[in-house]
């Protein structure tokens, strides 16, 4: 829960113009992480609510981020055991795909709603998010290998 608050703060934190395009989707990453490691932490309903709060924060359409996070949490909890068993590289690839799907969904909704958004820089948050995931997962994974995985 605390990490989620931190993620919201990070999402709202103003960054210098030069690196703002690299800002990863903190909330999405946090949700993926907790869904994979502690499954009862976030259900689908809480994903929806968190998404709505994020929508209000970013001034998006209500439900836009909610739908993206719903998709992330659904996929993660559906294939949780498989994803957890993946080696670091493979799980990073899956997370990259998930982030890309999320970003694509947001872009798509923006397009349907008729909002003009630049497309060129959209892959940067995916790249930075994936990199971040690689760091976090490889760090925390080492500790967990010794502990038995919860089923």
């Amino acid at each position: 829960m605390l990490s989620l608050c931190a993620a919201f703060l990070l999402a709202a934190l103003p960054l210098p113009q030069s690196i703002v395009a690299f800002k990863p989707d903190w909330v999405a990453l946090t949700l993926i992480y907790w869904t994979l490691t502690a499954p009862p932490a976030f259900g689908l309903l809480s994903a929806l609510l968190i998404g709505l709060v994020l929508d209000t924060l970013t001034g998006a359409l209500l439900g836009q981020h909610a739908l993206g996070l719903l998709l992330l949490v659904y996929v993660c909890s559906r294939f949780r055991l498989r994803l957890r068993a993946f080696p670091v590289v493979q799980s990073t690839m899956v997370v990259a795909a998930l982030l890309a799907a999320n970003e694509f969904l947001l872009l798509w909704i923006d397009g349907i709603a008729g909002r003009t958004v630049p497309i060129g820089e959209r892959w940067l948050p995916i790249a930075s998010g994936t990199l971040l995931w690689l760091l976090v997962w490889s760090t925390f994974d080492r500790g967990r290998e010794h502990a038995p995985a919860r089923l």
Binding site: L9, L13, P14, L57, G59, L62, G63, A66, E121
Partner: protein, 328 residues
């Protein structure tokens, strides 16, 4: 795992429904407001460090620096009040001339200073939050100015904060008038806070680099006569029927910290057209002029003198606009 899929589908449909309703209607305003109470602490917390830093800087400033600043401000104040004196004389003259022409007086706009919250929103859109909300009387569509010109308008109002869009947002357009020749057009945002586009000018239209653009007030959102930008690039391509015209916003869009919320009193415009000065208008009908409405009501905020006459749809306006609107 089947129930998980069903639940996902249900919630996804719910999210889609929300989006459609939010996009088509404004019925979700209460929901947004309720959520804004959750978001408010986040915004305040993120805004706290810059705020604390500014506070520390002003309260720990050296005495000498403060004295110097005080001196400078006094001098500026002297200059400004001297200018204001002249402006008052001009204003009186303007009023007299307008009375001769039987046109309406420009109303004094009411303004309120609002601070921009240092909160990052969607990085792909030019939006920001200000620390004034419905409790301060802010309404959707309200214009935002800074010392140099028009900044943007309010798109969403919460009780304590509100969300504004810059004039350079890719979805934003503001009706403008060229001071040099009275040419009316529309300035469209580009998504880059240093550039505006004027896409509806043909190759033959009279526009030059350096032309000052003022708000024309035609859209009914922005008060007329405030600077919007200055043309920095004109490219005419023979193959195309429209010229590429780029302007630079007059307001310091990505630098300022404080903005002014403006109440123009135009909301009362339709009902009160010709109300106050009806007798004179009736005596000599002049259909072309639209009435500026009643004077704005003052309520505990500062008063800014409007720099230009309300000359919305008036073809003879440009010269007067140029005189009063701070043109070069």
């Amino acid at each position: 795992m089947g129930s998980l899929g069903v639940r996902f589908l249900l919630l996804a449909v719910a999210a889609c429904t929300l989006m459609v309703v939010d996009h088509r209607t404004s019925r979700l305003q209460p929901v947004r407001e309720a959520l804004s109470f959750v978001v408010y602490p986040v915004q305040m917390l993120v805004d706290a460090p810059p705020r604390a830093w500014r506070w520390a800087r002003t309260s720990l400033a050296e005495r000498r620096a403060l004295l110097a600043e005080n001196e400078r401000l006094k001098r500026e104040q002297l200059h400004a009040s001297a200018k204001l004196l002249r402006l008052e004389a001009l204003e009186a003259e303007n009023r007299r001339l307008r009375e001769l022409l039987d046109s309406t007086e420009r109303l004094a706009d009411r303004v309120l200073v609002a601070e921009i919250l240092a909160v990052d929103m969607d990085p792909y859109r030019q939006r920001f939050n200000v620390n004034r909300g419905r409790l301060d009387g802010v309404y959707v569509g309200q214009a935002l100015l800074d010392a140099n010109g028009i900044v943007g308008q309010i798109v969403n109002v919460a009780p304590m904060t509100s969300e504004a869009v810059l004039i350079t947002d890719a979805d934003h357009a503001v009706p403008v008038i060229v001071t040099r020749n009275g040419l009316r057009t529309i300035a469209v945002g580009t998504g880059d806070s240093g550039r505006l586009r004027l896409p509806y000018l043909t190759n033959s239209s009279d526009i030059e680099v350096g032309d000052l653009l003022l708000s024309s007030g035609l859209g009914g959102v922005f008060p007329a006569g405030y600077p919007v930008g200055r043309v920095i690039e004109v490219r005419r391509r023979p193959g195309q029927s429209f010229a590429d015209v780029i302007a630079e916003p007059a307001a310091a869009l990505d630098r300022q910290r404080e903005v002014l919320l403006v109440w123009t009193g135009d909301e009362e415009l339709p009902g009160l057209a010709g109300g106050g000065r009806g007798a004179a208008d009736d005596a000599e009908p002049r259909g072309a002029e639209t009435d500026g409405g009643a004077p704005a009501v003052d309520a505990a905020t500062t008063d800014a003198d409007a720099p230009a006459p309300a000359a919305d749809a008036d073809a003879s306006a440009p010269t007067r606009l140029a005189d009063a609107g701070g043109a070069p």
